[in-house]
Amino acid sequence: MTEATDAALEVLLRAARETATARRIAGDAETALLQSVVDAAATIFDAEASSIALFEPDPDRLVFRVAGGAQGDGVVGITVAPTHGIVGYVFSTGEAIALTDVASDPRFDKHTAERTGYLPRSIAAVPLMDAGATVGVLQVLDKRSDESFSLKDMDLLGVFARQAAAAIEAARVGRDSERLLRNALTSIGGEALDEEALDALVTAAADELDRDDEAPFWRLVDRVAQLRGTSDADLELVDEILEVVSRHRSHRLGRYGRRPR
């Protein structure tokens, strides 16, 4: 019996590692989506640069995650205080704004601009909102065809912001469910699963959950748990956690899918 369990667990782990590797090669879906938003924004506005900064706590800061456009690259990885500059203002108030002729303003946040290697003349910035809060800021620098941004530009930028916010929310839901999954797997696997094995299993199981909560992968996990002689109470707990995870996932993703109005 122990032999059968170990063999099954081995198969499971191999499958999980392959899925995790495939996923790593494909890259992080959230970043890819955000990148496509800034690339599209830079192209549509014919802008020198476009970027997205996301809020991260402890300490509170806005981190530029992705950038597009000819002058965009320098900003990626730069961190600013949420109490600072145009990006901080838009994040703090949730209000979209555009400024013209910012470089001529002697006290425009030149320090940050210089760190990026690009000093803009005009900026349009809109908040990224999820259901309950502002989660980041999307900005576009220097529209080539005009020295300032129109109301139509601001509306259009708002549409891009909703795309980005949808990607961020979906990723957050994913992270929440993966945390729950990890707890469930730890209770099944016990000491047989090290950190790396857990990572691989969580990634693979999360992929399956994306498609179907009755996935064969999860049935396999369940079977392994039974073979390992996990107690009925533990199994029940795992079942419940899984149900919550899959419901949470389909509810949140489903609701978000209907959201753009």
């Binding site: 949420p82 555009a98 006290r107 809060a133």
Partner: protein, 275 residues
């Protein structure tokens, strides 16, 4: 209350018998025009609170009209209002103040800073600042920010109603993002979005709420941080234009209520872009 022991609802009292004589108002919609509403007004005697990022009191754009500066801090989860010496964190409060003083040069400004380092208490600070301004007895409040906190819905609603009954006009920038936005979506608030006509004396009334007024909000020349200036676009620059008009109205017609102020603004609004 009625002395008849509450049989007749007290709400009817103003409409019964001799009490009706007390309903004569200054504002008659059929007689309203801009001359009646604004001519000769400069904002004298009117106090406008700007709930924002602070104000640079010595910025030439605000013309020395700043009377008081406070900041709302969060202590043990509760808002505490203290004197503020920080100036303007972003430049935005100064921009709003400058636009209001442009229209109403004799107005008195009060800066209520609610933007600051503590992001967690942001909604509570905003609410606390609004409450403080109403209790302080200001006439107009400019709000170029909003909260998305569902948890604060009821609190905001209560405070906004209190402002309405106290005769304090709240002018709020509309938020373009979908979803909750308090207090800009409440019915008693003067909610403003941007239009493109470069003229502070051009405003529109939209009979389809929630956003009832449109004011200049594209490439508006504004004051900015550290004595600077720039040009800006956004609903948050349209709201102060309307707050300035409300200040003029209140200085010439001090008895106007928030409801009447909305009616006057609607009656005197442009019907087409200026020629």
């Amino acid at each position: 209350m009625s002395e008849a022991g509450g049989i007749r609802p007290a709400w009817s009292e103003p409409f019964i018998g001799d009490a009706v004589a007390g309903l004569v108002r200054e504002a008659r919609l059929d007689q309203l025009d801009r001359e009646w509403a604004f001519d000769g007004a400069a904002g004298r005697g009117v106090t406008v609170a700007i709930i924002d990022s602070g104000i640079e009191a010595d910025h030439p754009a605000v013309g020395g009209r700043v009377r008081e500066q406070v900041v709302v801090e969060i202590e043990d989860g509760d808002p505490v209002v203290v004197e503020d010496g920080e100036g303007d964190l972003f430049g935005h409060g100064t921009a709003c103040g400058g636009l209001i003083v442009d229209l109403a040069p004799e107005v008195e400004l009060i800066s209520v800073r609610v933007l600051g380092a503590d992001l967690k208490g942001r909604g509570a600070a905003f609410l606390g600042g609004l409450e403080w301004a109403i209790e302080r007895g200001v006439d107009v409040v400019n709000l170029s920010l909003s909260s998305r906190s569902e948890a604060l819905f009821a609190d905001f609603h209560e405070v906004v109603d209190r402002a309405y009954f106290a005769g304090v006009t709240l002018v709020s920038a509309a938020n373009n993002s979908p979803g909750a936005s308090y207090p800009s979506l409440f019915s008693s608030v003067v909610s403003v979005a941007a239009h493109e006509q470069p003229d502070p004396w051009c405003w529109y009334y939209n009979p389809k709420p929630p956003v009832e007024f449109g004011a200049w909000g594209v490439d508006v020349p504004i004051a900015w941080k550290d004595g600077g200036a720039t040009a800006a676009t956004g609903n948050s620059f349209a709201a102060p234009q309307v707050a300035g008009l409300v200040a003029l109205l209140r200085s010439k017609h001090p008895g106007l209520t928030p409801f009447e102020i909305k009616a006057v603004l609607a009656a005197t609004a442009d019907l087409a872009p200026p020629a």
